[in-house]
Every structure is written in structure tokens, then in C-alpha cells.
């Protein structure tokens, strides 16, 4: 083994020593958090105090409490990088990703962490979001008559990238008053699924129509009164109301509320928005 190697080994152990050093150096003072502890039966806030670490996010704080003070504190998380959308909860009454919300933002304020309230609470910060996956199953999936590889141009698909960013944190579902206050779960899909239906409807190669689902079926888009709370909370900045819900409402209006369009369809036949060709009347846009 060369001298350089020996030196490197030495350096290697130092590099790791540094890692620990950094953390203890960075700890200055403490932060207090009030966290909801309880389950479906009820519960209350419990206050915890933890040492400060520079740049700490609320999830760091919760995990610190879990490791050192309350081993059974339930929280849902995965990537800790705002990519997976698991750690949604409510901080001071507003839906937030715990991994993206820095503790410093609340300097001088209380930090009160609660689970998402539009869904049944399982325990502590974890709520039961299963209902969303039932809605996912009810959505009419992508279907194309063409065989991939598709020829699709950037200019045709560029507006689909935005709805595709959705990380399914369900915070829009949590904040939506149609679900949260009015409990329209069985007949209303919620903002997340309007986002999905939007890209499906606008996909150049998709042949299905989801307008009936959206108006008459479980979609229930009529319940949405476009008050934009979903857009306000979206952690990946999807303009849910303007770019997903309203375009879908306009398409529903085309189909159900526009007498001129209705008359035109009677006279000229249904036209495919993909190709402009005349298509059948069963709502299925294929077979142009």
C-alpha cells in the first residue's frame, strides 16, 4: 500500500468525522412543535422540543422526535425530497409537504402539525387516503388505437407536461371544500383526478371520451366551483383550476351546454378534436 493510500484512508475517516461535526456545530437552540397524537377515536396535541439543525425541514423534526422521544409517532414519508408526495400533512391548518417546509419559515410562530383532515385519521399524522385510489380505478384509462412508437410533436404535447408533474400528495383533495366540508366523495373525483383527466383528454393519441364520466358519472365536475384552493396548495405548482379544471368544464360545456354546438353536431356529425374527422356518436372518438 502506497503512502498516498494511507493518507487517503486517513482522509476518509476524517471526512466522516466531519459529517458528525457539522451536525453538532449546526445545532443552536431548540424548536418547539405541537403534534397531533391520536387515532380515529380522537386525540390531542402534544408538545415536543428538539434541537435546531440548520436548514431543518418539519419532517426532520418529526423524525428526530420519532427516533429520540416518541418511537411510535406515526408519519408517512418516503423520498424526503418532495418527489413522492407521501408526507402531506397540515401545518397550522394548511396542507404542506413536511419534507419541503422549513422550520425557519415559522420563526416566531407556533408550529402545529396535524394529519390531513379531509380523510379519516389512522394515527397521529397519518390519514387514510385509500379513497383516492378507488377514484383512480374509476378513471377511464389511456387507450389508443395506434401502435407505439407514436409520432407526436413537442408542440402537441408540451401542455401535457404540467398535469403529468402531479406527485399525488393529495393536498388538493384535502383542501378542496367539496370533499373537506361537503363530503361529496362518492360523486366527486377531486382536483387530483381532474388533472389526470385533463392530460388524458388532451393526449393526441388517446381515443376515449371522459366527458360523460366527468359530468354525469363519478367525476362530478359540476360540484367544483373553481375557488382555486387546490391551485394554492399544489407543491409542484400545477395551475389546477386554470389549466385542468376549467378546460375540462369548457369541454363539458361544448358537449352538454352549448345549443349551437349541439345543432352543429346534428347537422355535420361529430368531429374528432384530434383529426377533425367525423366520428361516431357513442362518445368514443375513434374510428375517424
Amino acid at each position: 500500500m502506497s503512502e498516498q493510500d494511507a493518507q487517503q484512508k486517513d482522509m476518509a475517516s476524517k471526512a466522516h468525522a466531519d459529517v458528525h461535526q457539522d451536525e453538532s456545530d449546526a445545532a443552536q437552540g431548540t424548536t418547539r412543535l405541537k403534534i397531533f397524537r391520536g387515532d380515529a377515536e380522537g386525540g390531542s396535541e402534544v408538545e415536543y422540543e428538539i434541537p435546531n439543525i440548520e436548514g431543518m425541514v418539519v419532517l426532520d423534526a418529526v423524525l428526530y422526535i420519532q427516533a429520540h422521544q416518541a418511537g411510535d409517532l406515526a408519519v408517512r414519508w418516503n423520498c424526503k425530497a418532495a418527489h413522492c408526495g407521501s408526507c402531506s400533512a397540515e401545518i397550522n391548518g394548511k396542507p404542506k409537504l413536511l419534507c419541503k417546509t422549513r422550520v425557519e419559515e415559522y420563526e416566531g410562530q407556533e408550529i402545529r402539525v396535524h394529519p390531513m383532515r379531509a380523510f379519516p385519521v389512522i394515527k397521529d399524522l397519518v390519514s387514510d387516503v385509500k379513497w383516492n385510489y378507488e377514484v383512480a380505478r374509476s378513471t377511464i384509462p389511456f387507450q389508443s388505437d395506434e401502435q407505439a412508437p407514436f409520432i407526436m410533436y413537442e408542440e402537441d404535447v408540451e401542455r401535457l407536461y404540467e398535469p403529468k408533474k402531479c406527485i399525488e400528495c393529495f393536498m388538493c383533495q384535502d383542501v378542496c371544500h367539496v370533499l373537506r366540508t361537503h363530503h361529496k366523495h362518492p360523486e366527486f373525483a377531486g382536483p387530483r383526478f381532474f388533472v389526470r383527466n385533463q392530460w388524458l383528454e388532451m393526449h393526441p393519441k388517446d381515443t376515449q371520451s371522459r366527458l360523460e364520466y366527468l359530468k354525469e358519472g363519478q367525476g362530478g365536475i359540476g360540484y367544483c366551483n373553481i375557488t382555486k384552493c387546490c391551485t394554492e396548495v399544489c407543491p409542484v405548482n400545477i395551475k389546477i383550476t386554470d389549466n385542468s379544471i376549467i378546460p375540462l368544464k369548457e369541454r363539458v360545456a361544448d358537449e352538454y351546454y352549448d345549443p349551437a354546438k349541439w345543432l352543429m353536431r346534428k347537422i355535420r356529425g361529430r368531429r374528432s378534436p384530434k383529426t377533425g374527422a367525423v366520428v361516431g356518436r357513442n362518445g368514443n372518438r375513434n374510428g375517424g
Binding site: E90, G93, K94, H177, G222, Y223, N225, T227, I246, K249
Partner: protein, 249 residues
């Protein structure tokens, strides 16, 4: 996320949750009362033969003396605003508290019980006629453009404060009208594959232009409201002889 929006949100965060609702109610309420006043009590809205208040354009002769000709015109832009996707948000939140805002505290104060809430399914389903008001508003904007050109000819070509005000008004109103969500849908939003339809590239371009305007629809909605209001008040002040229309050129 720019520093601007951050400081704006921290600025607004200082107000209580009902502050936004109260402001909207105050402004929209005042405007509505003003419009009613115009429609029923002000048959004339023109000054010097070249400044026709935007509330009276296009000029329709009124068959009944005391009824303002504005009543035959004003329903179009008012209907357009009433069914506009932005104003819908504003009045559902401010007047109906459905919800007053997004915080959990405010949502708990929603007055309607789950059985009574139907969103835009029952009464408010009429908002779907928005596109027809859009068609009407485009015609109104065309007339306003004509009136604006006329405003630049007090007696031969000339520029007055009034003409500039009219110009500003028509620009802001166009920004509002042509940035409307229905316009966006019409222009190209409804097309799924631009490269598959005739004239697709033009549709895509128009969609993009409208989208740029639409991105700030709330801004256009408010400033154009104030500009119409302001232009009418200006004309009325001229008529009352309180001020004179200062000529610049």
C-alpha cells in the same frame, strides 16, 4: 417563485381570513349599485359629441324616455363578468362563502350544509353560457374601439385626457375579453392535436397568446373594471362641467 410573490403572501397573511372577502364584496357591491344607478337614472352618457361613455356603447336608442340606453348594452359586459371564471371564484368566495378562503378555519365557517351544496350543478349551471357572453362582449369591444377612435377626433384629430383614458380602457378590456378562459378554449384549447388539423399551427399560436393573457386574468378583470368605471365617471364629470377635457395635441 419570485421574492415578490413571497412578500405578497406574507403581506396578505397578516390580514384576518375574512379581509379578502370583505374587500371583494365592497368593490363589486359598489360597482353593481353604480351600474343600477346608471341604467335607471342616467339616460345620457355622452360629452361633446366625441366621448361616449363605454357603458353606453354601442349606442342603442331607448324607446322609453326615462330608461337609459345603457340597459340595452350593459347586460352583455355585466353578464360576461357575472359568468367569468375569475369573478365566479371571487363571488363564490366573497358573497357566498363557498368557501371564504382556503384555511381550515375559514372552511369551517361555510354556511351551506353538505346537503345544500351543489356547486355549479343547480342554479349556477347557467354560468356555462359564458361563451355566449364572450361572443357578445367581442362585439361590444369592437364598438368601444370605434368609440375610442372617435374620441381622438374632438374636432379634427386631437389627443385629450379623455381620448387617452378611452384608449387605456379599450386596451384593458381587450386584455380581459381576449384572455378569457372560454376564449382560450375556443382559440385552441379544445384541439388535442395541432399537427393533425388544418390551420393547427395558427390555433396553437393563438392558444399560446390567449394563455399568456389568461395567466393574469384576475389582473385584467380588476383593472378593466376600474377603467370602465373611471371612464364613465370622467365623462359624467365633464358633462356636469366639474372638469374640462384637457387637450394635449
Amino acid at each position: 417563485m419570485s421574492g415578490g410573490t413571497l412578500s405578497w403572501s406574507s403581506f396578505t397573511a397578516r390580514f384576518p381570513w375574512w379581509a379578502g372577502s370583505v374587500t371583494t364584496v365592497a368593490i363589486l357591491g359598489a360597482f353593481t349599485i353604480y351600474s343600477i344607478f346608471i341604467v335607471f337614472f342616467q339616460p345620457v352618457g355622452e360629452y361633446g359629441g366625441y366621448l361616449l361613455s363605454p357603458m353606453y356603447s354601442p349606442p342603442v336608442p331607448s324607446p322609453i324616455d326615462w330608461l337609459s340606453p345603457a340597459i340595452f348594452v350593459l347586460w352583455i359586459p355585466l353578464g360576461f363578468r357575472l359568468t367569468c371564471y375569475y369573478y365566479r371564484k371571487a363571488y363564490y368566495r366573497a358573497f357566498l362563502w363557498d368557501p371564504p378562503n382556503c384555511s381550515s378555519k375559514a372552511q369551517q365557517r361555510e354556511p351551506r350544509s353538505p346537503e345544500n351544496y351543489s356547486g355549479e350543478r343547480n342554479l349556477w349551471v347557467f354560468n356555462n353560457v359564458h361563451r355566449y357572453f364572450l361572443y357578445g362582449s367581442i362585439i361590444v369591444v369592437a364598438f368601444l374601439l370605434y368609440e375610442t377612435i372617435r374620441a381622438f377626433f374632438p374636432d379634427g384629430f386631437g389627443i385629450t385626457i379623455g381620448s387617452l383614458l378611452f384608449l387605456l380602457n379599450v386596451v384593458l378590456l381587450s386584455g380581459y375579453t381576449f384572455g378569457c378562459h372560454s376564449m382560450r378554449h375556443l382559440a385552441g384549447g379544445r384541439v388535442d392535436c395541432y399537427s393533425c388539423v388544418r390551420g393547427g399551427n395558427l390555433r396553437r399560436k393563438s392558444f399560446q397568446w390567449v394563455s399568456v393573457l389568461n395567466g393574469r386574468h384576475m389582473f385584467w378583470a380588476w383593472v378593466s373594471l376600474f377603467s370602465v368605471w373611471g371612464a364613465d365617471v370622467y365623462v359624467r364629470l365633464l358633462m356636469a362641467g366639474v372638469i374640462t377635457d384637457l387637450r394635449l395635441v
